[in-house]
């Protein structure tokens, strides 16, 4: 590998290990270290010395060790024992899964509620909240026929209630996602 490739690869690996930091912080760290390395390379070239990227990088330690020092403050208390890194990766996977799951769930529920609310104006007879079997069960339905033996509960009130509920769910989803993103 050429010197340029060695340096590029080092910074790329460092960037991977810095993923616990937010993007801005990680970019800042990489930018500074890159500036340092290129400064050293340039000085050596100007002095007519042979440039050995691996020798220059040696002072920084491995990308992983270097990154660990930058993220050390994010680990509460003492750093985890060796071998715990794998568990952290899994935990992070769950958070990422939870993030997208929450997103899909929140968006679909709120969209559905808002649609139901709006559709009430166009299909007033097919959409409604019915109480059937003498109040023992409640049916929120988009039905082809009106519900037999059932009493409609809300009438046109369904529209604003469903829309407001939908907006409420959307807002709630947004705040939950913000919290999740912070821990991502």
């Amino acid at each position: 590998m050429s010197n340029r490739e060695v340096i590029h690869q080092y910074l790329k690996n460092l960037s991977t290990y810095l993923s616990r930091l937010n993007k801005e912080e990680a970019t800042e760290v990489i930018k500074e270290i890159e500036s340092h390395i290129l400064d050293v390379v340039e000085a050596k070239e100007q002095a007519g010395e042979k440039v050995d990227a691996n020798a220059i990088l040696a002072g920084f330690g491995s990308p992983r060790e270097l990154a660990e020092q930058y993220v050390a403050h994010m680990l509460e208390g003492t750093p985890p024992p060796v071998g715990f890194n794998a568990i952290q990766t899994v935990k992070k996977g769950i958070t990422r899964g939870a993030y997208y799951g929450m997103f899909a769930f929140g968006v679909s529920v709120s969209t559905l509620l808002i649609l139901v609310g709006l559709a009430k104006f166009f299909l007033p007879d097919q959409i409604g909240l019915w109480s059937s079997t003498h109040g023992n069960s409640v049916i929120l339905a988009f039905a082809a026929d009106t519900q037999p033996n059932a009493e409609e509960l809300l009438g046109y009130w369904l529209a604003p209630i469903a829309v407001l509920l939908g907006l409420g769910v959307a807002k709630l989803t947004k705040s939950v996602l913000r919290v999740l993103k912070h821990h991502l």
């Binding site: 760290v29 930018k31 500074e32 270290i33 500036s35 340092h36 290129l38 400064d39 050293v40 340039e42 002072g59 920084f60 330690g61 060790e65 270097l66 020092q69 930058y70 050390a72 403050h73």
Partner: protein, 114 residues
């Protein structure tokens, strides 16, 4: 001889653990410096042979603690460099640490001379 060097190095590392923060604050108290400049300055002293891997994360922590600040600056044709300077808090901390350091040296000297 090699064994002696190794021992000296270990002693330097131990001693630096507590004093490096003071050393860096003091170096920045003299003037603003960028990373490589600061490293070269420290390397001009026999017992201050720290690595890049020690310096940069420490600078990051000092900045996080609000003791130093940093800004990017480009002079002439050179590459943009990240300069570090003391904050007001850093200036104060430096004074406190200098005092404690001098006190420690006096105490140790006093013990050694008895």
């Amino acid at each position: 001889m090699a064994k002696q060097d190794n021992f000296n190095e270990k002693w330097d590392v131990q001693l630096r653990k507590g004093t490096l923060e003071l050393v860096i604050l003091a170096a920045l108290h003299q003037k603003e410096r960028y990373g490589l400049e600061l490293l070269k300055y420290l390397h001009s002293f026999e017992t201050m042979q720290i690595t890049e891997g020690t310096l940069y994360p420490l600078m990051d922590r000092l900045k996080r603690d609000g003791l130093i600040d940093a800004y990017w600056n480009q002079e002439g044709d050179s590459r943009p460099r990240k300069y570090y300077l003391l904050t007001e808090t850093g200036r104060h901390k430096q004074q406190v640490l200098v005092e404690r350091w001098r006190r420690s040296v006096l105490d140790i000297e006093s013990i050694l001379s008895q």
